[in-house]
C-alpha cells in the first residue's frame, strides 16, 4: 500500500512538472534570460546592433541618471509618479462610486458596458479621439468653454496643463476595469449581511462604510496595486498623444524615455539602466502598498 502511494506521488510529481513545462520554458526564455541580459546591458554602452561592440562602463549609466540636474529625475520620474497617482486616484474613486451605484440599478450589464467601453478600445484610438476633443481651435471641450464664456485652454500645447490632460485620459480609460473588479467584489458580499444591518436600522452610508467597504478590501487592494503598477509603466498614451513627451519634457514618462533612448538614440545601455531604476521603484511601491494593506488587516495572496 505504502509502495503504491509513493508510486502515485511520483506519478503526480511527474505530471506536475510536465504540466508546468511550458511555463518553465517560457519564463526561462522570456523572463530570466532577458532579465540578466538587461541587467548586464545596463552596465554597458551599446548601440544595439552588434554584440561585439558592447563596451563595459560600470556604473556610468546609473551615475548619469542620478547626476545633478538630470532630466531623468526631474521631470521624467516625477512625471511618471504624477501620472500614476493621478490616473489611479481619478479612476479608483470614480470606479468605487460607479460600481456601487450600478449594482442598485436595472440593466446593470448595459451600464457596465458603457463604462468598460474605453478599456476594450486600443489606446491608439483613444489617444487620437482625445487629441481631437482637446484641439484648441475646434475641439469640443474648448467649444463648450467658449459657450460658457470661460477662458479656453490649450491642453496638450501648454506645459502646465499637458500632463494633467493626459492624466484625465488615463483615468477615464482606467475606470472600466476597476468597476468590473469592484463589482465582482461587491457581488461576492452575501446579501444577508446587508439585510441584517438594514433590519437594525443602519443608514445607507453606515451600511456602506461599516460593511461593504471592509468586505471589499481585497478587491480594492487588487485594483490599487494593479492600476498603480500599470500607471507607472504605461507610456503608450504619451507616445500616441504627444509623440515625444512634449512640450519640452512636460509629458515625458520613464517608459517613453527608455523607449526613445534605445530605439531613437541607440543608447541601449542607458535605456536598460532606466528600466532597472523604474523596476526598483515599482517594486518598492508595490511592497509598500502590500504592507499598508496588511496592517489594515488584508491578507495578501
Amino acid at each position: 500500500m505504502a509502495n503504491k502511494r509513493s508510486k502515485l506521488n511520483r506519478g503526480q510529481a511527474l505530471t506536475g512538472y510536465l504540466f508546468l513545462m511550458p511555463v518553465f520554458g517560457f519564463y526561462a526564455l522570456f523572463f530570466l534570460i532577458p532579465l540578466l541580459f538587461s541587467l548586464y546591458l545596463s552596465f554597458t554602452e551599446w548601440g544595439g546592433f552588434d554584440l561585439s561592440l558592447i563596451k563595459w562602463v560600470g556604473l556610468d549609466n546609473y551615475r548619469e541618471l542620478f547626476r545633478e540636474g538630470s532630466p531623468f529625475l526631474n521631470p521624467i520620474i516625477k512625471n511618471t509618479f504624477v501620472f500614476a497617482f493621478g490616473t489611479v486616484l481619478l479612476s479608483f474613486f470614480i470606479a468605487l462610486a460607479v460600481s456601487y451605484m450600478i449594482t442598485r440599478l436595472k440593466y446593470e450589464g448595459f451600464w457596465r458596458t458603457l463604462y468598460f467601453l474605453p478599456t476594450v478600445t486600443t489606446i491608439v484610438a483613444i489617444g487620437n479621439v482625445w487629441l481631437y476633443l482637446y484641439n484648441p481651435t475646434n475641439g469640443v471641450i474648448n467649444e463648450v468653454l467658449r459657450k460658457l464664456g470661460l477662458q479656453t485652454v490649450r491642453f496638450l500645447d501648454d506645459p502646465s496643463t499637458a500632463l494633467a490632460s493626459i492624466i484625465v485620459v488615463g483615468g477615464w480609460l482606467g475606470i472600466g476595469s476597476s468597476v468590473l473588479i469592484l463589482s465582482a467584489g461587491l457581488k461576492a458580499i452575501p446579501e444577508d449581511y446587508n439585510e441584517a444591518a438594514m433590519l437594525e436600522g443602519a443608514g445607507l452610508w453606515a451600511l456602506y462604510s461599516k460593511i461593504t467597504l471592509p468586505l471589499l478590501k481585497p478587491s480594492i487592494l487588487f485594483v490599487l496595486i494593479t492600476s498603480f503598477i500599470g500607471g507607472l509603466q504605461s507610456f503608450t498614451l504619451s507616445l500616441v498623444m504627444t509623440k515625444n513627451g512634449g512640450p519640452g519634457n512636460s509629458t515625458n514618462v520613464g517608459g517613453l524615455e527608455m523607449y526613445n533612448q534605445a530605439f531613437n538614440y541607440g543608447n541601449w545601455g542607458t535605456a536598460s539602466a532606466m528600466a532597472f531604476v523604474l523596476f526598483v521603484i515599482i517594486f518598492a511601491v508595490t511592497l509598500l502598498q502590500l504592507a499598508v494593506f496588511r496592517r489594515g488587516g488584508v491578507e495578501s495572496y
Partner: protein, 291 residues
Amino acid sequence: MKPRRFPWFSYTVIVLGGFLMVFPFLDMLASSFKGPADYNRMHYAFLPEQFLLDNYGTAFEKLKLGLLFRNSIIKSVATTVLVLLTSSLAGYALTKLRFRGRQLTFRFILATMMFPGFLFLIPNFYIMVHFPLVGGNDLFGEGGDGGMAQYRLALILPFAVSAFGIFLMRQFILTINDAYIEAARIDGASELRIFFQLILPMTVPALATLAIFEFIGSWNEFIWSLLMYTVNTELATLPVGIQQLKSHLDASMTQPLVNAAMVISTVPILLVFIFLQKYYIRGLTNTGLKE
C-alpha cells in the same frame, strides 16, 4: 424586506457619467463621416455637414485592412488559446498535484507580475530577432534576416504565458473539491484524463473570463507589435496600422479617414465584449479575487 426607494441619485450620476464615457466614441463615429474641410472648420460641430461614406472605402483601401485584420485575429486567437492552455495546466498542477517546489513555483510566478513589461522590451526584442535556427539564423542566432520577426509567431510568443492567467486559474481550481479527483484516481483515470475530462469542464467560467481578458488585451496591444512591425512591415496589426496611417498622411486633411479606420477596428472587439460580458463578470465573481 421593505421596498427600496427608486435610486434617483444613482441613475442621474450613472447616466451622466455614462454619457462622458460614450461621448468620445460618438464623436469618433460622427467625425468618421466628415470631409476634411468639415472636420477642420473653425468651430466645432458634432454632426457632419453631410454624411460621407467614402472615408470607409478609402480607409479600407489605404490600410491594407485584410492584412491587418488577419494579423490581429491570428495574434489574438493564438495568444488566447495558448494562455488558456498554459494557465489551466499550471493552475491545476499548482493546486491538485503534489510535488517538490510547488509553493516556490507559485510564489515565483506571482513575483514575476511585479516586473514591468518594459524591462523585457529591449532584451526580448533582441532574443526574438536572434532566435536560433529561425528566419535564417544559425545555431547562435546570427546571420539571419529578421529571425523570428519573419513570422507572425513573433507577435504571439512573448505573450504565451500569463502570470495573471495562472493565478486566476489556480484560485478557481482551489475551489474544486478534491473528492472528485480522488474518486477519479481510484477509478484508475490518468492525470491527463482527469485534467481534460474532469477539471477543464468545471473551469469553463474562469476560462471564459480569462479568454475575454486575454483576447481584448492582445487585440489592443501596441508597443511590441510596433517594434515587430519596424522590423517586418508584414506583421502590422490593427493598432499599428492605424497609427502608421495617421502619420503617413497629412494629419489635418485625413483625420476623418483615421477615424473611420478606428471605428472599423473597434467594432469587432466591442461586439466580443458585449456578447460575452455576462460570462466575464460571472467568472470574475466566482474566481474570487478575494480569498
